[in-house]
């Protein structure tokens, strides 16, 4: 019973010192006489990352098939099958992680943190959809993205929302992208992953708040087509702008628009643009003045945004754990709080200098100050350009899918009478052969 005595003594010592001393070895290693051999601790290997390379291959294949389906085959049914496959594979089988949307943050972190290395598969996940978008439009959104697929499947009673609401809500995605870049660049958090609304549905487990968020978005998605894609998706922002430049793109009609107006209500995402009427002469001067005013307003908006963004650095920098810890330690040192938290107790146990922690925290906060200028300026720029874009008159003669907003879902194909002519011809040609 010598050992139990020692334990009692050490308990007493512990109560006196009243602190947890980690990594202290209180008892000498035993000398075994019976020839007992110590087992070594188990350390199971990581699962083969061959799966990740298979994922990249599947992504590449799915993007290729999707691009073929939207541009050549023009088949909504085939796109639907591909969409279900993507949902099952990337969503429920691979649990929705890693996805191109979240991979944005890894890329950003690797740019700003020289220690962090992006796995090559994650970089491929980020880049492949962007490259495909530059060539073929948003074929990723069409049928490859599992988040898009789950929303597309629930969309049964589409209602159209007014243009001003669409434009306004879309700004949320820009703010989300800017914030995600800010928090990833400072190494504070990956907010896209943290607030991914559908990943807990794919995993069939997750925190209650996120599950509720996902369920709400799906419920809204029954009526308003793909709310996450249109109004929140930060990756969608990049895709939108690359899609404007794409070499090829989805067209409603396979050859020519006959202005039949049948497709007018076909798009549940508000991406079909009607032909424009002539510019009313009377309003021309008013519009010109407004445009000049908005262009002059642009730098003001950028400055205001930047000023606001850096002004809230005390709040935003709290996303970083070092800043949170420093604030807690400061409160404890100032005697404003009595007890320690797990974090502050752990910090004090390391024996690090408090001033060192303060220096680190103030450095991070100044990073948030600079990042806030860029983030806020970016948001100001986006709002300003949106206003300018809304007051510029664009000539359009036919019904067209908007290059940026079109998710290439293929719903409009069947509405076009020219498409039916094409299909009939193709069928006849097949029959003759």
């Amino acid at each position: 019973m010598i050992r139990s005595d020692r334990v009692i003594i050490s308990i007493a010592l512990f109560l006196i010192s009243c602190g947890v001393a980690w990594g202290v070895e209180r008892f000498p290693p035993p000398d075994f006489e019976s020839g007992y051999e110590m087992p070594s601790p188990t350390a199971p290997h990581a699962r083969q990352n061959i799966y990740e390379y298979i994922d990249v291959a599947v992504l590449l294949a799915a993007l290729t098939v999707s691009s073929y389906l939207i541009l050549k085959k023009r088949s909504r049914r085939a796109l639907f099958v591909l969409m279900v496959f993507s949902l099952l594979y990337f969503g429920f089988w691979r649990k929705g992680c890693v996805c191109p949307i979240g991979a944005t943050q890894n890329i950003v972190l690797s740019v700003f943190d020289s220690e962090y290395v992006v796995p090559v598969t994650v970089a491929a996940f980020f880049l492949l959809p962007l490259v495909f978008t530059l060539f073929f439009g948003r074929s990723f959104c069409a049928a490859v993205c599992p988040l898009g697929a789950v929303q597309d499947l629930v969309l049964s009673h589409p209602v159209s929302i007014p243009g001003w609401a669409e434009s306004g809500l879309r700004l949320l995605a820009y703010v989300y992208l800017g914030a995600a870049v800010l928090f990833a660049a400072t190494g504070s958090a990956f907010i896209i992953c943290r607030y991914d609304p559908f990943v807990s549905i794919f995993r069939l487990t997750g925190s209650l708040n996120i599950l509720i968020l996902g369920a709400c978005l799906l419920l809204i998605g029954v009526f308003i087509g793909r709310p996450y894609c249109r109004f929140l998706c930060p990756y969608g922002v990049i895709l939108r702008h690359l899609s404007r430049l794409s070499k090829w793109r989805v067209t409603i009609t396979p050859d020519e628009c006959i202005q039949c107006r049948l497709c007018e209500e076909a798009c549940p995402f508000g991406a079909i643009k009607k032909p424009t009427t002539k510019w009313p002469q009377k309003e021309y001067h008013v519009a010109k003045k407004r445009l000049v005013f908005l262009i002059l307003l642009l730098p003001v908006l950028i400055f205001l945004g930047g000023w606001f963004g850096s002004g809230i650095k005390a709040v935003t920098s709290r996303a970083h754990e070092t800043v949170r810890l420093a604030e807690r330690i400061y409160l404890e040192e100032a005697g404003e709080v009595e007890e320690t938290t797990d974090a502050s107790a752990a910090f004090r146990a390391t024996g690090k200098e408090i001033s060192e922690l303060y220096d680190e925290a103030s450095h991070i906060r100044s990073q948030f100050g600079l990042g806030g200028w860029i983030f806020g300026g970016f948001v100001g720029l986006v709002i300003g350009l949106k206003l300018i874009g809304l007051s510029v008159w664009r000539r359009r003669q036919d019904y067209e899918a908007d290059r940026a907003s079109c998710l290439a879902c293929g719903r409009c194909f069947a509405y076009c009478p020219r498409e039916h002519v094409r299909l009939k011809k193709a069928k006849e040609a097949n029959g003759k052969r």
Binding site: R3, S4, V7, S10, I11, F14, V20, W22, G23, V24, E25, R26, F27, P28, P29, P30, F32, E33, S34, Y36, M38, P39, P41, T42, A43, P44, H45, A46, R47, N49, V98, G102, A103, Q105, I107, V111, Y116, V117, V118, P119, V120, A123, F126, L127, L130, L134, A189, F190, C193, R194, S200, G206, L242, L245, T322, D342, A343, A345, A346, T350
Partner: protein, 188 residues
């Protein structure tokens, strides 16, 4: 008509230029990623010296049964008869049994080696990563029991949910070829 063509060409030129610029930018991202690319991935792991055994690992993992489990480093273990990681502080008899054991799932197996030493091994299929034993062992014993992310179970989420909930910042990314941060032997 000529003017219109000119404008058209300018637009095309601008658009093609932008298109090429975007492609070049994507190429640069790919290039820099490839240049920094190491053969190994980064995976999540717990620094056992920073871990405060708060118990969040058991509940915050996205897996129903946490990917974090307790590890026993036998070289550090004191093979105590009254193991502070195994027995409740007020255990009446030093015998296995739910009323005496700290572990809520009975995942620690106690086996007699020789007088007065007992061997303690973790049954990983039962361990839930609650860190009750870790706390006991670190406070009163040698600290040979500690938590580690088990990579046969970990999904390696892009942002680890437990890392977000970790109060002491013990989670960090480590290279996948050395995915464990085991405690070092430090015999006095």
């Amino acid at each position: 008509m000529a003017d219109k063509n000119k404008e058209f060409d300018r637009r095309h030129f601008l658009r093609d230029g932008l298109w090429g610029g975007c492609l070049a930018a994507l190429g640069m991202v790919a290039g820099s990623a490839a240049r920094k690319h190491r053969q190994t991935e980064m995976v999540w792991q717990i620094d056992p010296y920073t871990c405060v055994a708060c118990g969040n690992c058991a509940t915050y993992c996205v897996l129903e049964e946490s990917a974090v489990k307790c590890v026993q480093v036998f070289e550090i273990c004191g093979y105590c008869d009254f193991c502070p990681g195994y027995f409740e502080p007020g255990a009446n008899v030093l015998e296995p049994g739910a009323e005496n054991e700290l572990c809520p799932t009975g995942a620690i197996k106690r086996a007699f080696v020789e007088e007065p030493y007992y061997e303690y091994t973790i049954d990983e299929s039962l361990c839930i990563g609650c860190a009750k034993c870790v706390k006991g062992c670190a406070a009163f014993g040698n600290g040979s029991l500690f938590l580690q992310v088990r990579h046969d179970r970990c999904l390696n989420c892009n942002e680890c949910s437990i890392a977000v909930a970790c109060p002491s910042g013990a989670y960090r990314r480590v290279p996948a070829d050395q995915p464990y941060l085991l405690k070092k032997v430090n015999h006095a």
